[in-house]
């Protein structure tokens, strides 16, 4: 798989506080905010039927629970390795959305990182960043 360019955001999962307290351990049953994990839009047929990246013209390979991706923050070049622990983001709800840092841009939401993972390569307060996702 060639690197996919898009947007990354973050989400909480597992035992946690506040509004996140009800979200559970994700589609894989293993998701925790403190672990280096992520959600992927094409983690299963059922997942893909919800997230629908194809509706935005984005083709993403089927990758299942535990699969390892490497995400690079296009604003800084920082990179983190994570494994699939949930289904998401819901790409089709933000079709065409673009995030940029200067001339480095990514369109469409392709990955959600846990707080531990996102904070390793970006500030949690930024919320959304352009990124590239690869398998090596």
């Amino acid at each position: 798989m060639a690197a996919v360019i898009g947007e990354m955001s973050w989400f909480c999962c597992g035992n946690t506080w506040g509004p996140c307290g009800t979200v559970g351990h994700g589609a894989c049953g293993t998701c925790n905010s403190g672990s280096l994990q992520h959600a992927w839009p094409n983690a299963s047929d059922a997942c893909l039927a919800i997230t629908r990246p194809d509706a935005c013209g984005v083709g993403l390979s089927r990758r299942t629970c535990g699969f390892r991706h490497y995400t690079t923050n296009l604003c800084t070049g920082s990179r983190i390795g994570t494994t699939i622990a949930d289904c998401g983001p819901q790409t089709d709800l933000f079709c065409g959305e673009t995030a940029c840092c200067g001339s480095s841009c990514g369109s469409n939401r392709i990955i959600d990182l846990t707080p531990a993972a996102y904070s390793a390569i970006a500030s949690l307060s930024s919320g959304l960043r352009p990124c590239s996702v690869d398998v090596v």
Binding site: S9, W10, F11, C12, G14, N15, T16, W17, G18, P19, C20, T22, V23, N32, S33, G34, S35, L36, Q37, G66, R68, T76, S78, R79, I80, G81, T82, T83, A85, G88, P89, Q90, L93, F94, C95, G96, E97, T98, A99, C100, S107, P115, A116, A117, S119, A120, S123, L124, S125, G127, L128
Partner: protein, 200 residues
């Protein structure tokens, strides 16, 4: 990762005895030079990150935050002059309160303390639908539960489909999907909105 390493070394220096660093003398005989002699061991993808902590603040003692993790693990978080703190906006240590939730990233010291590089207090990232819009308030449907989001004049920003952030939230529409970065109120379970990302 050179920027990270530079930050790491700066942070370790600050913790270990920079003049004016909060609580810098409390490390005692932890032989910190050993802790910082080598580059950090990479964390395996999928594994818990030892340089990250989350939970509710149960005690504030000097520059230390005692945090009860959501998995019941106890964390000691050391705050230094070099720690960046966010609570709706960038802020200062005195704004942190017992009962607050938090995420922290930093450097795990040999005694188990996390020397914090960054702390995000009460921060939430909610993927929700707009259920109603009022004067300076958004009613959000998040995982089937209604959450009140307060628009804070002068602070709240709206990003519409990737356009530059603006203070005008009037373009938000009921039924549309949004991502909200905000600060949770532990006493009311409501949030103050920092940034709302809205789809086209």
């Amino acid at each position: 990762m050179s920027a990270t390493m530079d930050r790491r070394r700066l942070l370790s220096t600050a913790v270990l005895g920079g003049a004016g660093i909060v609580g810098a003398t409390a490390l005692g005989s932890l032989a910190p030079e050993a802790a910082f002699a080598a580059d950090p061991v990479p964390v395996e993808p999928g594994a818990p990150d030892p340089n990250f902590a989350e939970g509710r603040i149960s005690k504030i003692s000097g520059s230390m935050l005692l945090v009860t993790g959501s998995d019941a693990v106890l964390h000691s978080i050391r705050v230094t002059d070099g720690t960046s703190i966010w609570k709706l906006t960038p802020t200062t240590f005195d704004r942190i309160a017992i009962g607050d939730g938090m995420y922290a990233r930093g450097l795990r010291l040999p005694d188990g303390t996390l020397a914090a590089d960054s702390i995000w207090v009460n921060i939430v990232s909610l993927h929700a639908h707009v259920a109603a819009v009022g004067r300076n308030v958004l009613h959000l449907d998040h995982n089937g539960r209604r959450i009140v989001g307060h628009v804070v004049p002068g602070t709240t920003a709206a990003v519409y489909n990737g356009t530059p952030a603006v203070s005008d939230v009037s373009l938000l529409r009921v039924g549309r999907h949004v991502q909200v970065i905000g600060a949770w109120h532990p006493d009311t379970n409501e949030i103050d909105v920092a940034t709302v990302y809205a789809a086209a």
